[in-house]
């Protein structure tokens, strides 16, 4: 019988997309088939992925209150809609505003991958800069040490020259 693997203490794990992802990828790493109901492999959604859905919702935001002249039973429908207008007029305003909010959100989401890429690039640059500065520090230290050695040698030469030209103190 295989040994029991100690597990970390249970926590109040909140269910979200990250946890679902972790469970699914670990399950597949364990050799299990894809979980039923889990969408087919898809990377991060392309920018503006929600635009299609928003467009379809926008087509129905006014709940069919706009009728063309070619409609059948036009007069009857106008009568029904006039009656329904008492209830639908505020819903239409609500739908319009929800659509506006969704469009704004979609635009913001579309910008996220770019922001992440920029942040990652900045981090990579920062790492390179740190490496470069570390190298430069080592080089500068070596230069400083070399200068110190030269200075010491010059001082010794100077002392020797002085000893040659100056009479010893009596």
């Amino acid at each position: 019988m295989p040994p029991t693997v100690p597990q970390p203490a249970a926590t109040d794990v909140t269910v979200d997309a990250d946890l679902d992802y972790m469970d699914e990828v670990a399950s597949r790493a364990l050799g299990n088939p894809p979980t039923a109901g889990v969408p087919a492999p898809a990377a991060e959604p392309p920018p503006g992925a929600a635009a299609g859905y928003i467009g379809r919702a926008a087509a129905h935001a006014h709940m069919g209150t706009e009728l063309s002249e070619a409609e059948r039973l036009l007069l009857f429908k106008r009568g029904v809609l006039r009656l329904a207008h008492l209830f639908s007029k505020e819903q239409v305003v609500y739908n319009d505003n929800v659509l506006k909010a969704l469009r704004a959100l979609d635009r913001r989401l579309a910008a996220v991958p770019g922001l992440i890429a920029t942040a990652e690039a900045d981090l990579a640059d920062l790492g390179d800069t740190v490496d470069r500065l570390s190298r430069e520090m080592v080089e500068l230290r070596e230069v400083a040490e070399e200068q110190g050695r030269r200075q010491q040698a010059l001082a010794e030469q100077l002392a020797a020259l002085r000893a040659m030209v100056e009479p010893p103190p009596s």
Binding site: P2, P3, T4, V5, P6, Q7, P8, A9, T11, D12, V13, T14, A17, D18, L19, Y21, M22, D23, E24, V25, A26, R28, A29, L30, G31, P34, V38, P39, P41, A42, A43, E44, V112, P113, I116, L133, S134, M137, V138, L140, R141
Partner: protein, 401 residues
């Protein structure tokens, strides 16, 4: 025999890479053919196991995605053409082979023994990290069951294999020799340390706890000290040293755990490493070559190794080989293994004050420091590459009959 050595390529050459170079030379010298099987960790699949990664995942837990991607890459490697497979760092053990020897350096420790301190330091979301740890342990276990024989990098790593995985009968140990050449260490051992400085050799990264060394030296004004090594926390440690060594700093009010259980971020308004990395009597030496390191050992009165729960204590072995008594912390894991408290060094509580007291004892009594250094050298004499290679070759023979 044709032997495959599998290793993740992290793009750096560290202590373990040097170990593997020696292992390969030894195997070749015995007439074996060695193939390298590597996975470039930076070039693994962005979608491990074909599952779409939520964008937030790459921000909140990037290490998990990378680890699973590496595991998938190793899992796909076909090493059946070789007579023996030797795997190394995780998750190279995911390759399947009927004769599989794992030179097991460590687990992916953020999901094992370092999980709690990682969370406590604020590096990640606790719920996500713990969930990831549970999953990684399950996935690892599936693959680790396929390993025929483990040679753990120390007794500490062997105990972790027993604790986390339940493996006992198929686990041995190999103990690496020193990274520095013997002749350099002999010269260092001959050096006089009378009135010398206190030395700490460590990468400045999370859990290496250079911060405790800094705290200790702040208790000992006027005592010269050298901190060797670079790393991501260098600027943080230097700033900490300046604050602790400033006049009037209340050293006893400092919580030692808080000093290192953090992300190592500089306080607002503080810039990075200055041109002159010195705080009080403590010099930040940076990275040095082997010859310079040996010279530094030679001039040290003792060597402090304050790291938390290490796999193995290569720098401690080196310091002891150089005839220097060492000061380690009781929760140091592998760094404590060769140290006998009061005989060849001191094992103290993980606080600046306790380290400072041990250092002061050694500085105030040069005779004691010398005799402990001599004991340290005798202890370290057993840590040879000849023994390490004999342990590894015995493992190969045990597995291959």
């Amino acid at each position: 025999m044709r032997i495959a050595i599998a290793k993740p390529d992290f793009g750096v050459v560290g202590g373990f890479e040097k170990v593997m170079t020696r292992v390969e030379h030894e195997l070749v010298s015995r007439g074996h053919a060695v193939d390298h099987v590597g996975v470039d960790i930076d070039a693994t699949s962005p979608l491990p196991y074909g599952v779409g990664v939520p964008p937030s995942m790459r921000l909140r837990l990037p290490g998990f995605v990378r680890y699973l991607a590496a595991m998938e890459a190793f899992q796909r490697i076909d090493a059946r053409g070789c007579d023996l497979l030797i795997t190394t760092q995780p998750p190279s053990f995911a390759i399947e082979h009927p004769r599989h020897l794992s030179l097991f350096s460590h687990h992916q420790r953020l999901y094992y023994d370092l999980c709690d301190v990682w969370i406590a330091a604020g590096f990640g979301d606790a719920a996500l990290q713990r969930h990831a740890a549970a999953l990684v342990r399950r996935v690892d276990q599936r693959h680790l069951r396929g390993v025929g024989l483990f040679l753990a990098a120390s007794e500490v790593v062997r105990d972790r294999l027993r604790h986390y995985n339940g493996f006992e009968n198929n686990v041995g140990v190999y103990l690496a020799g020193t990274g520095l050449h013997e002749s350099l260490l002999r010269e260092a051992a001959a050096g006089t340390a009378s009135g010398g400085y206190v030395l700490c050799v460590t990468r400045q990264e999370f859990t290496k706890r250079a911060e405790l060394f800094v705290h200790a030296m702040a208790y000992l004004p006027g005592v010269p000290a050298r901190l060797v090594g670079g790393g991501g926390r260098l600027a943080f440690t230097l700033d900490l040293a300046r604050r602790l060594m400033a006049p009037g700093a209340d050293l006893d009010a400092v919580d030692d755990a808080e000093l290192w259980l953090n992300r190592g971020i500089l306080p607002p308004g503080v810039n990075g490493v200055a041109a002159s990395p010195v705080a009080g009597d403590l010099s930040f030496v940076g990275m040095v070559d082997d010859a310079e390191l040996a010279r530094l050992y030679a001039g040290a009165v003792c060597v402090v190794a304050p790291a938390y729960n290490e796999d193995y204590g290569l720098t401690v072995i080196e310091a002891m080989s150089a005839g220097r008594p060492v000061v380690v912390c009781a929760d140091g894991g592998g760094v404590c293994l060769p140290v006998v408290d009061g005989v060849n060094g001191y094992v103290v509580q993980p606080t600046g004050r306790a380290i400072a007291e041990a250092v002061a004892r050694l500085r105030e009594d040069p005779q004691l420091a010398r005799s402990m250094g001599e004991s340290a050298r005798e202890t370290a004499a057993a840590y040879t590459w000849e023994r390490a290679m004999a342990q590894i070759i015995a493992g190969v023979e045990r597995l291959c009959g």
